[in-house]
Assembly symmetry: C2
Amino acid sequence: MQVAAGARPISEVGEFGLIAAVSNLLAASRVRSAGMLLGPGDDAALWQPRAGRVVCVSTDMLVEGVHFRNDWSDATAIGHRALAVNLSDMAAMGARPRTAIVALALRGTETERWVYDFYRGALALAHKWHVRIIGGDMSLSPTAAVASVTVNGELRNSEAVLRRDFARPGDVIAVTGPLGLAAAGVRALQLGRTRIDGAPAMLAAHRMPQPRILQGMLLVRAGVRCGMDISDGLFGDLPKILEASGVSAEVRADRLPIPLAIRWNFPDWFDLATRGGEDFELLFTAPRDVVEHAAGLFRRLRLPAPVVIGSIMARKGDESQLTLRRFDLTRQDVPFGAYDHFSAKPGTHG
Amino acid sequence: MQVAAGARPISEVGEFGLIAAVSNLLAASRVRSAGMLLGPGDDAALWQPRAGRVVCVSTDMLVEGVHFRNDWSDATAIGHRALAVNLSDMAAMGARPRTAIVALALRGTETERWVYDFYRGALALAHKWHVRIIGGDMSLSPTAAVASVTVNGELRNSEAVLRRDFARPGDVIAVTGPLGLAAAGVRALQLGRTRIDGAPAMLAAHRMPQPRILQGMLLVRAGVRCGMDISDGLFGDLPKILEASGVSAEVRADRLPIPLAIRWNFPDWFDLATRGGEDFELLFTAPRDVVEHAAGLFRRLRLPAPVVIGSIMARKGDESQLTLRRFDLTRQDVPFGAYDHFSAKPGTHG
């Protein structure tokens, strides 16, 4: 009996066959990088950042059942996502990503096709941003697959970077795009309501998140020095900036870019948008004229304009406070809150 | 009721409490690194290699039940091991390790103490080699804990490196230390024979493997250009050099540094030593005078002398061959063979 190409379980193909096949896939990838000295196939990979550049490193791990489900995303989307969350960390620093390392631990029951599709998803995104996958590791994880990716990026110098501890009173707070789409996508999948109005954008935001790399680099170019990516929701992440910078903030509910489709479909749309997480838009603070300068750079590259959602102010006491100015113009203290991986149940976050 | 410090399950402590505690642990670590620009606590970490140096990157993942078992190793040993396997990849390149990134996915039922012990194990080894842990990731993995570590190292230039494809006919083959100790340690644990003669050295080799960083750097200094670390056993790893370099080899059984305690205790001692793996000694090839030069450098630093075990020769046909000259001086073709993660049963390799 003939088995369809790529349908063999990887326990039959074996680690070494699989590594050889994936190395070929990587070698065939069309990204040529001047600084590449030694690619996959040796104990470690070599690359050299251009002289005078600062190396920026990030890592993120995706665990089956926690960060992805095979019945909700196909392997291509999972590969995309594994790289995307790391590229988003580069965007969150304003860095230009250069190389990625992919470690994959598999159950052994996945098909070859699953592995190739995973790499295809990662490679497609890598190509888009001229990132080279320079190496990795493959091993067994009998109970749940794990993908762990590390990305190296470059910065012009160590001052031109988006940090969390540089918010200053008088800064305005802005985001690069809509809030809550990814969380709404997870919710739609949980409820089996994948045909509601606006669902394609929600599902795409969850399955194929787009790192805001260009925006991050332009923000740094414009002179923004404080920023991060929104992975734990606005009310989970903004407090990290406030505490690191020793400041407070007021956010205006009527300014939050929450898509209408989320408001219409989910009664708890405000929580979804502010605490749902995984949006990977950038959150940043800067003086208003710097934000306007950034908006001008965005416009020139036809990127959506950043949205100002509030402002930074001095602390009143020892603690950072986050105040929400509600739709009825009353003010409310916002409890700091984010998705907590260890307390939440697997596969239900959002 | 009072709970002992560190005995809370981490599902109670929560991800953010744990990240804060671990960040403190890392900040208190005494390694000061000139190139460090921004440490843990932001979206990514920054570091800058000294001008003119080449960055070398490696990653390795440890999965519970596959690469470690909590009943065989304590958390400190697991933390040590997670970093050690990566440092060994640096040693295998002849690179000087500088920074590490640690991603940890936990079941949620581990105690706080487990996590701190894990980091203590990693930090102790990091201190020893002046490596700075500059960041990481923490998430949930309900069915098996996973530790994924990425290390960045430096090389003087891209020629001064140990590669797999630089073995030349006429080279001798050498290793930096004994073979089979780690595999014998795993075997002793499997059989419950942890009190046999020589067991402490075997168990230590499995639990707290020592990366041969100094040896790797000295080999490069001496002019060695071909080498790797032995993670899949001599007969699993030497073929990788032979195939990458397009050469064949003869290994002399009587020259293999196999400790007497392994020969005495295990009937299959020869397979244990040549196919067991996880020894993390370095395997390298070079002209005899270069190896003697390296031996001189080793001696000056009171490191054990490298052991010559065979020689490289030209291929006879299209295929690389590995010949074993046995104790009775007869010759035997060695089938290439290594531990295959996807075909082997979890927790039994060695």
